[in-house]
Symmetry: C2
């Protein structure tokens, strides 16, 4: 008789599989207030590694971290008209503080454009103060009616970058740099995720932006997920907050701005892009634990060997966890590490000691083989890099095999409904076609140029719309 | 004529000096909602370094980071009676979400004991799940009627640790380990702060704790500041949340718990402990910028030399910032770095190029001297360590010289009012004397044993009460 599956198989019920995995791999739990979540240590460890990798890339651009208040006076939100319209339905409002009703209610930030712009207008005086490059790691709250762990939660964690520049060209170049050299580089090279960089249509733009750049990923069920966005804000906020500077020529000029963000939603994407019916598969460069060394039994010689191997792998720069909790059955622990997607398991039992070998299980391609203990330090770094590349190749292959070139609206809908992406000339689809996609639960995920690059304008000749259903 | 001072002198008006320094060193601004603050990049950089140093020490204990929701159902707060009484007057309450009035209001967390305990009660089942060691880096909100930047703000950033153990001894040992090996070690060896480890009296305990351990620091004006606390919670929360485990013997047992926290208040302490009339002085081990290399003028040979020196110092493991903004006058930049307290300035101008020297200014002891460029890499690491030790010695000397051994209540009050600390036998002061201190704006900061160690009980023979006015 076959063993009962640990998770609902993906093919049976993808959303249920997703919930099962998050629960059993101990990534997160639902919080008590509707739509909130508790990020458990294993899930938070993924976020910490994402933060470390992203933060280094963000700082490379000359951007500095800062922290702005959680609570924003309600009146701030009305300053930029498009912006308030975009966020009004999602706000959490604090009406009482310190036992009294507040004179002016405060909203819990849904994003920090408003409050950061207020300070930018004070801090920017001269061309010498530009560019002003600020990033914030913070929590934000957007009331969520149909919550799903990591993908749509009432509170989520993110980084939000906000910058002010002297010219439109500087702002445009910076938004693009974040889009490609920070976000795309991180997703491709650390998350091992195939992503498509593109430009949002006017309909899909961020509230208050003049251009939104996006990275779209294809999940295991063929739906799209918006992974991160980078916005050119033009002078919309500069006008609303009167953020201006004295130029070298002595004239007073409004600044040009960008904002850009990425969130804990990336953890959901990691699950849906790399997970399989046995659990998560974590890319080795992201993994907080790259190799877990397991003692099969609690004999002292086995435990000593496990510790020795662990120390040698750590010394070789590998992130190692020692599992010597032999009061829990070995089989259960092996299934747990499989669920959690740790890239490599090195298993040691009494028989391995005799043979001078260890059983090495690779989570990403699957399979197990006995390897001489003395070869582990030499072989495992290459195994980890190989499996990192394999994950990326698998996600690219999926996207390519499930993307269809089409030339009519009906074909685009058909491809999206079947669980794939359609590429259709934007000139064929147009804003009218885009509006009708909603009837079929599909959207234009982004516009790309014929050669795959990011278009400089919505209506550039040869623009292709990527159409899909999305999370 | 003497130059006008950059800051209000400390001796004239200490609180005003503090405000001036925070403003001019660009550490923080007031936020728009009463009591909130904007932590500017230079101030946030101090926090990031504190986080990195603390986080490493916390993880060394086996504690893992996680994240719990900001919003807590109001009903949760009533579960632990002492706890709710302690926090009720400070709460911010969300009554509306997503455009509707909520069925049950949610409070913005003032601390996470309640919500974390709810999950602990689900996660802890067996002795195998213990100890459960969780830490969270987060923002919290406590409505503040008399706010002061960093010291008392309506929102602040902190880490809060929460642990569950099988026995009272385990919990007690863990709370003590955090107190001494994490907090005291960090403050002494990174912040260069003399701190006194002690035990809070019953009156000063955390709401819901059976014992609170504290570290008290003496500020530049002789007042005390509570730097961080570590609590034994006994089984108070375990009872309230029914957090129990199946022991090895098959019996059901309540867990024993701890919680412990440290906040952005440490930045305020840094200012008040190490600042002088010229600005902040940042301990080298904490400093994000340990050495700033300044170009006095914008000539190409000067700029090239500045970059070369910067690269060589970076290669030697020093955290370096290059200041080549020669469109701002040199004198103004020098004053700014002085205000920000960067430990060492290396200044290069055309004359230095000719001589093969650089002017080295040391912020902590003060003074400038010409040093041969080729000696910088060899000498500066030792200079930084010397200045780190000097800061710690200065803060210790201040505390010792301004602490008085007294034997009566009146002498204790006199010492505190004069801007110092008094040490008085606890048996002499007692709870009755402690209550009367309030009339003089003083409190018992902590109890210490005669030999300086931390007492194991409030009424241990020989306990000494440290009495002071405090922030």
């Amino acid at each position: 008789m076959a063993k009962a599956p640990v998770l609902t198989p993906r093919a049976d019920d993808f959303p249920r599989w997703y919930q099962d995995l998050i629960n059993k791999a101990e990534l997160a739990d639902n919080g008590p207030v509707r739509g909130t979540m508790v990020i458990r240590p294993y899930g938070y460890g993924l976020w910490e590694r994402m933060q470390a990798e992203m933060d280094a890339r963000i700082k490379e651009t000359g951007t500095q971290n800062a922290y702005f208040p959680l609570l924003i006076p309600q009146s701030y939100l009305t300053r930029e008209a498009d912006h308030v319209e975009g966020f009004a339905p999602e706000l959490a409002v604090v009406t009482h503080g310190g036992g009294k009703e507040l004179e002016e209610p405060a909203v819990v930030r849904p994003t920090s454009e408003m409050i950061i712009n207020d300070y930018f207008s004070k801090w920017v005086q001269s061309y010498r103060d530009l560019p002003l490059l600020i990033n914030q790691w913070a929590n934000v709250v957007r009331w969520e009616l149909r919550p799903r762990l990591f993908l749509r939660t009432t509170e989520f964690l993110w980084q939000e970058g906000h910058t002010a520049h002297a010219t439109e060209e500087d702002a445009r170049a910076f938004a693009s740099h974040i889009h490609r050299q920070v976000y795309e580089d991180f997703m491709t090279n650390v998350l091992a995720m195939d992503v498509v960089p593109g430009r949002k249509t006017v309909k899909e733009r961020f509230a208050g932006a003049i251009n939104t750049l996006t990275l779209e990923g294809m999940m295991g069920d063929g739906k799209a997920l918006q992974m991160a966005t980078s916005h050119e804000l033009g002078q919309n906020f500069a006008k609303a907050f009167n953020t201006s500077y004295l130029s070298k020529d002595g004239t007073q000029e409004l600044v040009w701005q960008t904002s850009w963000g990425s969130t804990t939603r990336m953890i959901g994407a990691l699950v849906m892009m790399h997970g399989d019916d046995n659990g998560l598969r974590v890319p080795p460069r992201l993994a907080q634990t790259q190799v877990v060394v397991l003692a099969i039994k609690g004999d002292e010689p086995v435990l000593a060997k496990v510790r020795e191997i662990g120390d040698r792998l750590k010394a070789a720069g590998i992130r190692v966890h020692i599992d010597d909790r032999t009061d829990t059955p070995f089989g259960r622990r092996a299934v747990d590490w499989e669920l959690k997607g740790v890239p490599v398991r090195v298993e040691i039992g009494p028989r391995d000691l005799e043979n001078g070998t260890a059983m090495v299980a690779r989570r990403i391609p699957g399979g197990k083989e006995a390897i001489a203990v003395e070869d582990l330090v030499r072989l495992l770094p290459a195994v980890l890099e190989e499996d990192q590349a394999l994950l990326l190749a698998q996600s690219r292959e999926r996207r390519e095999s499930r993307t269809t070139e089409v030339s009519t609206f009906d074909e685009a809908v058909e491809a999206a409904v079947a669980g794939g992406w359609a590429r259709i000339p934007w000139a064929t689809l147009g804003e009218e076609g885009e509006a009708r996609l909603a009837e079929h639960g599909a959207t234009v995920r982004c516009l790309v140029a014929e050669d795959g690059s990011v278009p400089s304008a919505d209506d550039a000749p040869g623009n292709v719309a990527v159409v899909a259903r999305a999370y």
